[in-house]
């Protein structure tokens, strides 16, 4: 017997030409938001689709509430795929009602409509929905059976910043109800804002796992000083740890005062200097050497 809501042990999925998931272990406690991060092709979607029961694993064990996922799991799980087509000529309300009829127990549909801001679009044909409206409907569908565990696969991809923020509010509401969320995302600010725990995947393996703060603390004890490249043209950077990004140069240091003193001493203009703490973007770059949004 396990106390975790979802327990994954040594999960493997091999396709003829690629090892998409190569032996991962995850343990999810009830009520947390778990973020699965990684670059394109890291194995996130394959992993989440194995957990959802869509893709069959090559080997490994998955336990939901202590038993192999089956009929009970399908009734208690809410799923929002990366991309799902909705039936043409069917309205938002009819779509929600159809999915509600698939389950023995449902959430209050009217409450769901209100929470997902769908009231204005109820009689609208699925074909006429905007990106944000569509994502909110897909989230409502994922919640229609009042699930215990919700899988959200890149739910805000393609949304404008305002729609993303609205979506985050919705997810925070769901979290507040004590539901367990498994989220994959390309956006590190999203993961940082929503997730209690994250796992970073690359080449089918988990390369780091923990709370965002703990991971940052464990990997970094420095800050970044960012300056335009042009300002540092005649400055010798060889004694610093630096990273060139677009037209800027990042100087990584745990002694800000010393670096600033050296820059002033060498007549480097600091008018465009920015100092920031390490983020999950930096962590990912550090661990995988890849840009997250690549």
């Amino acid at each position: 017997m396990t106390s975790a809501l979802l327990e994954i042990q040594n999960l493997v999925k091999h396709y003829p030409s690629v090892k998409a998931v190569n032996g991962i272990d995850i343990s999810l406690k009830q009520g947390i938001c778990f973020g699965l991060l990684g670059p394109n092709g890291a194995g996130k979607t394959t992993t989440i689709e194995i957990l959802e029961g869509i893709v069959e694993a090559t080997s490994g064990e998955i336990l939901y509430k202590g038993e192999a996922p089956g009929e009970r799991f399908r009734k208690e799980a809410g799923i929002m795929f990366q991309s799902t087509a909705l039936q043409d000529y069917i309205t938002v309300r009819e779509t929600l009602q159809m999915f509600a009829n698939f389950y023995p127990a449902n959430a209050d549909i009217n409450d769901l409509i209100r929470r997902c801001n769908l009231t204005e679009y109820l009689q609208q044909d699925n074909r006429e929905l905007s990106g944000g409206q569509r994502q909110r409907l897909l989230l409502a569908i994922a919640l229609v059976n009042n699930p215990d565990i919700i899988f959200l696969d890149e739910p805000t991809t393609g949304l404008d910043p305002q729609a993303r923020r609205n979506f985050w509010d919705l997810i925070n509401d769901i979290k507040a109800e004590g539901k367990t969320i498994v989220l994959t995302t390309h956006y590190m600010d999203e993961a940082y804002s929503l997730c209690d725990e994250i796992a970073i995947m690359d080449h089918g393996k988990i390369i780091a796992q923990g709370t965002p703060k703990d991971l940052l603390k464990a990997n970094f004890d420095d800050v970044i000083l960012q300056l335009p490249e042009a300002e540092l043209e005649n400055f010798d950077l060889s004694s610093f740890s630096v990273h060139k990004k677009d037209s800027h140069i990042d100087i990584m240091t745990d002694d800000v005062n010393r670096v600033i003193a050296v820059l002033i001493e060498n007549n480097v203009s600091l008018s465009q200097l920015q100092i920031r703490s390490r983020t999950l973007d930096d962590l990912f770059l550090e661990l995988t050497g890849k840009e997250l949004r690549a």
Binding site: I54, T84, I90, N101, P104
Partner: protein
Amino acid sequence: MFVKRFLALLSTRNKEFIRDRSSLGWNILMPVLIVMGFAFAFSGDIGKQFKVGVLNQNAATELARQFLELKHIEFYAVTDLERAIKKVQRHQVDMILDAQQQQYWINAESPAGYMVEKVLLATPQASFEKQTVEGKMIRYLDWVIPGILSMNMMFSALFGVGFVIVRYRKNGMLKRLKATPVTAFEYLSAQIVSRMLLIMVVTAFVFYGTNVFVDFVMNGSHLSLFFIFALGAFSMISLGLVIAARITSEEAAGGLLNLFSWPMMFFSGVWFSLEGAAPMMQMIADIFPLTHVTAAARAIMIDGASLVDVSYHILILAGQSVVFLLFGSWYFKWD
């Protein structure tokens, strides 16, 4: 829960089809246009050639042989007299001549039969025994209508189910359904029933609507015809399920559906009779469900046949339905 899930899928699919006005319109309009086209094309007798069925052609008397040598009359060998006489009754053949017994059958109401009789008896020494039959004229239009209705059903069944399933698989809708408690059986049942309902309503609409304009022959029971069309639709929808069971590309599905539908359209006796066709072609035609729907519907509409009379076709269609449905369900994949 099965009923609830099944009804949810059925009702949504029905709404989707009914609200797709262009698709619904074409489903109704296409067979009507074909029938009207044929009614127009065969409205005159321009270029008609007389047609005479000949019994005992090899043992023809000298007098009969002289008649058989005439030009501009199409002679064909007859072995089954009863069947041949039926064709005279329907005006499909102008005369049947027993070349040995010097006996002939014509339809008393047929002008063409009257003309051929005059030619047969033109020689002064001609001594042929006359037999007359009666019967309403069966136009090509009457003969072809059961086939057109069946063919329209076939296209609606194959493309309406097969193509839609492949489209849903490709765009991820089936994958989304897989993640719910809905089973493949529930989903496929809803697709079959939805399409059957729509096919039967559209076929009934086309049947009665077309009849207003062309007044075609219907000698059998409407209920028997309904049964045959329902069974035929079920069989061809099941065939559509087999074709769409795993394909993920709409292009491949379109190609495969055409591969099945076009040979059926041409070699199932929709447009021309398979009587006298090469045995190999008849064997191939016998495999197609459309052959059996068309033959049974034609027998009911033209000959007034009962379900017992067409039981051979019913058995084949029922057997094919079971095989297609079991295989299609077993082979089906959500994604």
